[in-house]
C-alpha cells in the first residue's frame, strides 16, 4: 500500500480531529490578519449612513437557532448602526425560533440603555410565511394584535402612525432561507416590488450567490451576505465584534478545507492510473 492508498483509506475521525485542532489554534492565539472592506458592504453602510435620523426601519429575524453563529453578527451590526443613527427599530420574525432569537438579541441592546417603545419594539413571531408577509405589508396591525411582550398593539406609541409597510424607510431581513417561512424570495416578491419600500438582505453564506441578481436588477438596495461582510461591517462601524473575532479561525478552517480538496484530488489522480481502480 503506497502513500496515496493509505490516504484514501484514512479514518474519517482523523480528518475531524485535524479540522477541530486547526480551528482551535487561532482561537487561542489569534493571528490578526488584516482584512479589506469590499464594495458591497461599503455600499450598504453608505446607504444607511445617508438615511435621515429618526427613520423608521424594520428588521426581521428569519433564521432558526442553528444559524445563530453565522447570522447574529449581521443582525447586531445592523442594529448597532440603526441605534447610532437614532432610528426607530421594529423587529419581528417569520420563524418560531426567530421570535425568541429577536427577543434575546434586543435584550442585549436594552441593557445598553435603549428604551422599549421609544427606540425599538419587538413584535415577535408572525405565522403564515409569504402570506403572512403579504398580510403584514398591507395592514401591519392585523397580523400583530399584540407585541412579543403581550401589550396590545394600539397601546404602543411607536405603532401609532404605522399602517402599511410604506411607512418604513427601510426593511431588512436577516435570513437563513427557512423553507415555507419568510425566505428572501418571499420578502422580495411581497415588499420591495409591491410597495417600493427600500430593502436590504442579510442572507446566510449559502444564499449569497443566489441573491446577487436581485441587487444588480435594482430590486433590493444591498446585501450583507454571511460572516465576512458582517466582519467588514463591524470594521466600518469601528466596533469589531463577533464577526471580526472569528475571522482568523475562519482563515485556518478555509485553508484546511482547500488543502483537503487538493489532497483528495491528488489521491484521485494518482490512483486513477492504476489498473482495477474505480474510475
Amino acid at each position: 500500500m503506497n502513500f496515496w492508498e493509505k490516504m484514501e483509506k484514512v479514518d474519517v475521525r482523523i480528518i475531524f480531529v485535524v479540522v477541530i485542532i486547526a480551528i482551535a489554534i487561532p482561537l487561542v492565539k489569534p493571528l490578526g490578519l488584516p482584512m479589506k472592506v469590499m464594495p458591497m458592504s461599503q455600499q450598504v453602510y453608505d446607504y444607511i449612513e445617508k438615511m435621515p435620523n429618526g427613520s423608521k426601519v424594520f428588521l426581521s429575524f428569519d433564521y432558526g437557532t442553528g444559524s445563530i453563529p453565522e447570522l447574529e453578527p449581521a443582525a447586531k451590526a445592523f442594529l448597532t448602526h440603526f441605534f447610532r443613527k437614532g432610528f426607530k427599530v421594529y423587529t419581528m420574525a417569520s420563524t418560531a425560533d426567530g421570535g425568541m432569537v429577536s427577543q434575546m438579541c434586543m435584550a442585549g441592546f436594552e441593557k445598553l440603555g435603549k428604551v422599549y417603545d421609544k427606540d425599538f419594539i419587538t413584535l415577535g413571531y408572525f405565522a403564515g410565511g409569504e402570506a403572512g408577509i403579504a398580510a403584514w405589508s398591507a395592514d401591519a396591525k392585523k397580523v400583530f394584535q399584540r407585541d412579543a411582550r403581550g401589550t396590545p398593539i394600539d397601546q404602543l406609541a411607536m405603532m401609532k402612525d404605522i399602517k402599511t409597510v410604506k411607512d418604513f424607510t427601510l426593511g431588512v431581513t436577516v435570513n437563513s432561507g427557512p423553507g415555507g417561512y419568510g425566505t428572501v424570495e418571499a420578502w422580495v416578491r411581497q415588499v420591495p416590488i409591491v410597495y417600493k419600500t427600500p430593502f436590504i438582505v442579510a442572507p446566510g453564506g449559502a444564499m449569497v450567490a443566489n441573491t446577487i441578481p436581485y441587487i444588480q436588477a435594482g430590486q433590493i438596495q444591498g446585501m450583507i451576505g454571511g460572516l465576512r461582510p458582517s466582519a467588514e461591517y463591524e470594521l466600518l462601524l469601528k466596533e469589531p465584534g463577533l464577526g471580526v473575532a472569528a475571522m482568523d479561525a475562519q482563515s485556518a478552517a478555509h485553508s484546511i478545507m482547500i488543502a483537503f480538496i487538493l489532497l483528495g484530488n491528488a489521491a484521485y489522480f494518482a490512483l486513477r492510473k492504476r489498473p482495477g481502480a474505480r474510475q
Binding site: M38, I68, G129, I212, M247, I256, L263, Y268
Partner: protein, 206 residues
C-alpha cells in the same frame, strides 16, 4: 363534491389573489385582504397538526415497544412539558428561555457544526474533479473560498477582487439564467394549482 369543491376554492382564491395586485376594485381587494389575514391563523393550526403527527408516530413506537421506545417516552414528556410551560407562562418566562437557550440553541448549533465536519471530510473524500463540470465547480469554489478569508489576501493581494468578479459576473449570469428558467417553472407550478391542473396536493382517494 369532495374533490371539486376544494378545486373550486383553489381556482377562485388563486386567480383572485393574482388579479388583486392589478386591479383597484374593493369588491376583489377586500375579500383577498381578508383571506391573507386568515393565513397566519390557518398555518398556525397546520403547525400544531404536524406536531400532533410527531406525537402520534412516537406513540406507536411506545405502543409496539420498538427499539429505542424509551426515547419516545422522553420525547412525549419533554414536548408536553415545554408546551405546558410555554402556553401558561409565556415565552418570556425565565425557565422557558433557559430551556430554549441551553437545549434548543445548543443542540441545533451542534448539529450544524456536525454538518461542517462532514463538509470537511467530503472535501477530502468526495469532491473530486471527475469531469469538466465538477472541475469548474471546484476551481470556482476554491477561489471564492479564498476570497472570503483574510488569509486569501495574505497569499495574493488580488484574491478578494477575483472573488468579487466571479460573484458579480459569471456567477451572476449563471444565477440569473437559473432564476429566469426556474422562475418560469415556479410560475407554471402556481398556475397549475390555480387552474386545477394539479390536484395531487389534495391527497389520493375520492
Amino acid at each position: 363534491m369532495r374533490r371539486s369543491l376544494p378545486v373550486l376554492i383553489a381556482i377562485v382564491v388563486g386567480i383572485g389573489m393574482v388579479f388583486d395586485l392589478f386591479l383597484k376594485l374593493p369588491l376583489l381587494n377586500n375579500p383577498m385582504a381578508e383571506v391573507r389575514n386568515w393565513m397566519p391563523i390557518m398555518t398556525s393550526f397546520a403547525v400544531i397538526v404536524g406536531c400532533v403527527g410527531l406525537l402520534n408516530v412516537h406513540y406507536k413506537n411506545i405502543q409496539r415497544k420498538r427499539p429505542g421506545w424509551y426515547n419516545s417516552v422522553i420525547l412525549w414528556a419533554v414536548m408536553l412539558s415545554v408546551i405546558a410551560l410555554g402556553c401558561t407562562k409565556g415565552t418570556r418566562d425565565a425557565t422557558y428561555s433557559f430551556i430554549f437557550n441551553n437545549v434548543l440553541v445548543a443542540s441545533s448549533t451542534t448539529l450544524s457544526a456536525v454538518g461542517a465536519l462532514f463538509l470537511a471530510s467530503s472535501g477530502f473524500r468526495a469532491f473530486r474533479a471527475t469531469n469538466t463540470n465538477a472541475t469548474i465547480l471546484l476551481i470556482s469554489g476554491a477561489l471564492v473560498m479564498l476570497a472570503q478569508v483574510p488569509i486569501g489576501e495574505a497569499i495574493y493581494g488580488q484574491i478578494p477582487n477575483i472573488g468579487n468578479w466571479i460573484m458579480n459576473v459569471p456567477n451572476n449570469a449563471g444565477q440569473r439564467g437559473i432564476m429566469i428558467a426556474s422562475g418560469v417553472g415556479f410560475i407554471t407550478v402556481c398556475l397549475r394549482i390555480m387552474l386545477g391542473y394539479t390536484r395531487s396536493y389534495l391527497g389520493g382517494g375520492e
